[in-house]
Amino acid sequence: MSRGRPVAWAKRFALAILIIILFCVPVFLRNDYWLFVFCLAWINVLLASSLRTIYRTGELSLGQVGFMLLGAYSSALLSMRLGIPVWLTMLIGGLFAAGVALLLSYPMLRTKGVYFSVLTFLVAEIFRLAMWYMPSLSGGPAGLSKIPPPGTINLFGITSITFATKSNYYYLLAVVVLLSLLALFRVERSLGFTWMAIRQNDDLAESVGINVKGYKLVAFVVGCFFAGIAGGLFAHFMHLLTTDVTAMFGMLTSIYVAIYMVAGGEARVAGPIVGAVVLTLAPEVARPLKEYQPIVFGALVIFIMFFMRQGIIALPYYLRLWWGRAVAGQGRRLGEGGTTR
């Protein structure tokens, strides 16, 4: 049932204000390093949201990083070796990742649950290793460097925008990611109900005529497309790609992306967004702690899983809950009820 008109417009107004603030960040943030972190946050937002799209059907992909790799390298190599404009190569990168996802979907979607998750994890690792052992494409241990930024845009001869600077790239990221989120939101609005049915009981869904494999395929391909786009955005931002096991496309990143989604709160669209932002910025805030920083991060994740199962996005709910309990004088107990799926 639709809500009252005033509430809907208030929400849209708040969203608009938020977007304006986001676009003002480079203006206020003179520090180049923090701008860099914010840019990474945008990319993580897209990654976490792409993961959530796939998870709407009940399958947790631990291999988004693999499709990000496909998008990143195809975009980088096409622009560097064939001189194709970066705008186009980023798109091709996304399409390439989606294409590979489509090809692999037939075997991969035959698996479910933990098997699917492990499978995606391994497939991403295979992509990385394959790249590592093809130094002609990946640049070997030194990596692929000097990846060009997107070309300059000439605005009616009045002024031109280059993307070598972080602040301009920030705007690019903001625009692309926001458009992507809009697309994902649109897809979810159409297919989300059926995805929910599949996630809660796929046998039952199949028995009422829902083409479960087909719907899972759409979610998977769409999710991998945007992971590929994130990869392209990443490549032309960092100007360097490596396939070293401890680096960007390693197992740990896949895990981080899943953490962004779950810790942010996978039930709501905004969950992964909040999760990605908070968990990209928080470690940076904790950077002065140096080696202790991952301990803080890990502890935060554990805390959220125990006490805020629905995610950071549900913070208002939890604050009310804890306040209520504090007022009622009840003790805290480990573990928390909440939606499990």
Partner: protein, 291 residues
């Protein structure tokens, strides 16, 4: 004599080396399989238990000068305590739910890795071998440390087998791993099973770490590789099947040992993963699993 252009002797040497490592990986995979079979969760922090076992031995032997024969039991104790803590305070409160358990295990993994990095630094450390000589049999060199490591591994696995087949707790554990609902109906307490599985699994993992650390240098991120190896083995052999773990481990050991020599590092790294993905798609229960 040459096979694939490589002298047979060095082929056999590589094969033996791979098998030796394989037994240590089997120890890791056994624990992972036991936990998965009993608790139905993928214990992502299992690799870190292994890593901590290695660092425990390093600490006892190098920093405190204790002899190996003392360090190893202490290492087992460390593993046991860690496993019990994880089960009681991290996994039990979650009730086995898929997503929260994975997240907690990942959080624990990150914290443990960071703690070791803080405590010991990120550069690899070496533990002086407890048996620096080598034995030569039929033209094949076998490091005594590897020989002992294999012997210890096999001994532990045999002990585990006897435990599972001959003791009441062991039989209950097997039953719980094979058919959870039926075992509940028979009055088997799932909490006791979880505790037992985590305890045994963690002890085996930490011993594996200690043994591995005596042969190779250790670093804080060694847990990740171990976890992947363990995953590969239990998928090959079948999740929840213990004979499958042995077979899977030997196959992996074979590939790990021989493939780099025969077809290069690329194949050696990718082939096991590739084989396992095929298995996951075509026969998710693995070679011996039942699901």
């Amino acid at each position: 004599m040459e096979i694939f252009g490589i002298p047979a002797a060095s082929l056999v040497q590589s094969f033996i080396n791979g098998l030796a490592l394989g037994w240590i990986y089997i120890l890791i995979a056994m624990g992972l399989s036991l936990v998965f079979g009993t608790m139905r969760i993928l214990q992502f922090a299992h690799g870190e238990v292994y890593m901590l076992g290695a660092y425990a031995v390093y600490d006892f032997v190098v920093l405190h000068g204790l002899p190996f024969l003392v360090a190893m039991p202490l290492c087992m104790a460390t593993g046991l305590i860690l496993g019990l803590i994880l089960e009681r305070f991290f996994f039990r409160p979650l009730g086995g739910e898929f997503l929260p358990t994975i997240m907690i295990a990942l959080g624990v993994m990150i914290v443990l890795q960071a703690m070791v990095t803080v405590g010991f630094g990120v550069t690899p450390k070496s533990i002086p071998s407890f048996a620096p000589h080598a034995v030569e049999v039929l033209g094949i060199r076998l490091g005594s440390d590897r020989l002992i490591a294999v012997t210890v591994s096999i001994a532990l696995i045999l002990l585990l087998y006897l435990f599972l087949k001959r003791t009441k707790l062991g039989l209950a554990l097997t039953a719980a791993a094979q058919h959870r609902e039926a075992s509940l109906l028979m009055g088997i307490n799932p909490t006791h099973m979880s505790v037992a599985a985590m305890a045994i699994g963690s002890v085996m993992a930490s011993v594996a770490g200690g043994l591995m650390g005596s042969i190779f240098p250790i670093n804080p991120v060694m847990g990740g590789t171990a976890l992947i190896k363990g995953l590969i083995i239990i998928i090959l052999g079948g999740m929840g099947s213990l004979p499958g773990v042995v077979v899977g481990g030997l196959i992996l050991g074979f590939i790990d040992g021989v493939a780099p020599v025969v077809s290069g590092a690329a194949t050696a790294a990718i082939a096991p993963l590739f084989i396992v993905t095929i298995i996951l798609v075509l026969r998710p229960q693995g070679l011996f699993g039942h699901e």
